[in-house]
């Protein structure tokens, strides 16, 4: 087992070393393999032999050697060998921060989301293929193939080591934030078996988002996303019972919420709203901050939550947003108003028979006193979900109504 301090250090250094190496050789695919090998070597050697005087330099030297070995053994590229071998051995890593550039490359539009996630965790997060495979509960061979295919795609699409500019940069940053958001959710909503590994993903997403925020402190969506993650993560301990059953927001023990994360999250959420542009992560963070503000569920400022969802509906229309607004509306104006808004979603193919729509409808029908309707919808929702924890929760609601 590699000690946590060494793991943290390696994850911190891996993208820096990769950035330096790609700058020198301009071949992301091979450099990424070389860095991964160097990180694995360090994870084995450092705990035994102690930290080298210059860990970053050590990694860069080892990775460079691996890269040169790789080029040497690659017959098709013999011609390049002389050029690479003749290069001066690496000294100190240049003081260039490539974290963002690497993130942009890993979230290349030629890649599927699943591949972007895997590549980001490996190339920027410094996780090993085995760790990523464990987190996503797939065999290492499957994850290795996915990562190698992703790197080939980036190369084939002409992904170059240089940040995109203009509108493309805006788009790419959006893709990066979405990937970080997905990684966070994958970890946060973990409900079965090897929970620990998956909880790591939420922490990892926060760490990477912090890194992006440190480099782009003035980008209010980055700030908003970080705030959203912290405010969500703050509720983690209260979100499930000891036996793994889900606890809805209204019934959570708020004393279990992490005040430190909330404080930081609220500050960030406020700071993000002061920015010039308003984006969906900022608004979602504001919703989370509103919930965090309430000492008890009964004291929630639902009018504000509803107003925020109205804003979100306008800037990022999406049936799930409307669904969330219906919950807030029901709290402000009663279940009938919420149900009326829900009925506008019935024709939406994206959500028809979706378990979230069914469970929200069940919840509002229950509030309205329609026991039979609530029961039927809880049962349909329980059948429609793919999450065991959610299914258990929905079945328990149904059982409670039957009693």
């Amino acid at each position: 087992m590699t000690p946590p301090a060494v793991v943290d250090l390696l994850r911190e250094l891996a993208p820096q070393v990769l950035g330096a190496l790609v700058r020198r050789h301009d071949r992301f695919e091979g450099c990424e393999d070389a860095v991964q090998e160097a990180v694995l070597a360090a994870a084995v050697q450092w705990p035994v032999e102690g930290l080298p005087a210059n860990p970053r330099g050590w990694l860069l030297t080892v990775a460079s050697r691996r890269f040169v070995d790789q080029v040497r053994s690659d017959h098709a590229r013999r011609a390049r060998e002389a050029a690479v071998a003749a290069e001066v051995p690496p000294g100190e890593v240049p003081d260039t921060d490539d974290t963002l550039v690497l993130l942009f490359l890993c979230c290349h539009p030629a890649l599927t989301e699943a591949s972007r996630i895997a590549l980001t965790l490996r190339a920027v997060g410094g996780l090993t293929t085995a760790e990523i495979a464990r987190a996503f509960l797939v065999p290492e061979a499957t994850m290795a193939a996915r990562i190698s295919r992703a790197k080939q795609r980036v190369r084939a699409a002409g992904g170059s080591f240089g940040p995109p500019v203009g509108e493309e940069r805006v788009e790419r940053l959006r893709a990066v934030l979405h990937v970080l958001y997905l990684i966070f959710n994958e970890g946060y909503t973990a409900s079965s078996g090897r929970e620990l590994h998956r909880a790591d993903l939420a922490r990892e997403a926060i760490r990477l988002t912090r890194a992006v925020h440190a480099r782009l402190p003035a980008d209010s969506e980055v700030t908003g996303l970080l705030a959203l993650m912290l405010l969500t993560q703050a509720r983690q301990a209260a979100r499930t019972t000891a036996t793994g059953d889900l606890v809805p927001l209204a019934e959570q023990d708020r004393a279990q919420w992490d005040r430190e994360l909330i404080e930081e999250g609220v500050l960030l959420a406020k700071a993000s709203l002061a920015g010039p542009a308003l984006g969906p992560y900022q608004v979602q963070a504001a919703v989370a901050a509103t919930h965090a503000d309430a000492a008890s569920a009964g004291e929630t400022d639902w009018a504000q939550v509803h107003a925020l969802y109205l804003v979100l509906e306008r800037i990022a229309p999406n049936p799930v947003v409307t669904l969330n607004r219906a919950i807030a509306l029901a709290e402000v104006r009663g279940p009938a108003a919420g149900l009326a808004l829900l009925s506008t979603l019935d024709g939406d193919g994206r959500l028809a028979e979706h378990h979230r729509l069914l469970s929200v409808r069940a919840h509002l029908l229950e509030k309205a006193g329609d026991v039979a309707g609530a029961l039927a919808n809880y049962r349909r929702a329980a059948k429609a979900t793919a999450s065991i924890a959610e299914q258990r929760y929905l079945e328990s609601r149904a059982a409670r109504l039957k009693a």
Binding site: A114, S115, V138, P139, T142, S148, S192, G193, A386, I388
Partner: protein, 123 residues
């Protein structure tokens, strides 16, 4: 997202295939396996022996009873499956359309999302 793509075979339909058709079926699976392995989507694939080789096990009054033959009194039986990890259901369905069984009348290919999993995936 993990999906099980199950293949429901009908031995009578398979028996009626010509040698060429049978060879094409095997080759089609071979190509498909290579493709999903390369893309990093295949977790596992298993094909089962003929349903006539199945044993049905039940326990009555604490005593095990074992009878030969398949459980379902149907023409179609589970013939094997692919376990894949892919982007979403649409992608799983797209993968299923490339399984050669899907193009043969009388054979069924079904896609269902995995809800809970445990056990060694490293094997």
């Amino acid at each position: 997202m993990k999906f099980l793509i199950s293949m429901h075979i009908n031995p009578a339909v398979l028996d009626a295939l010509t040698d060429e058709e049978r060879a094409a079926l095997g080759a089609g699976h071979g190509e498909f396996i290579e493709e999903v392995k390369r893309s990093g989507e295949l977790i596992a694939m298993q094909a089962l022996v003929d349903p006539s080789q199945a044993a049905v096990v039940s326990v009555r009054d604490g005593r095990p009873v074992v009878t030969d033959g398949p459980f379902l009194e149907a023409k179609e039986h589970l013939g094997g499956f692919y376990l894949v990890d892919c982007e979403d259901k649409a992608r799983a369905v797209e993968l299923a359309t490339r399984i050669p069984d899907a193009a043969i009348e009388g054979l069924g290919v079904e896609v269902r999302q995995v809800m809970f999993a445990d056990g060694q995936l490293e094997a």
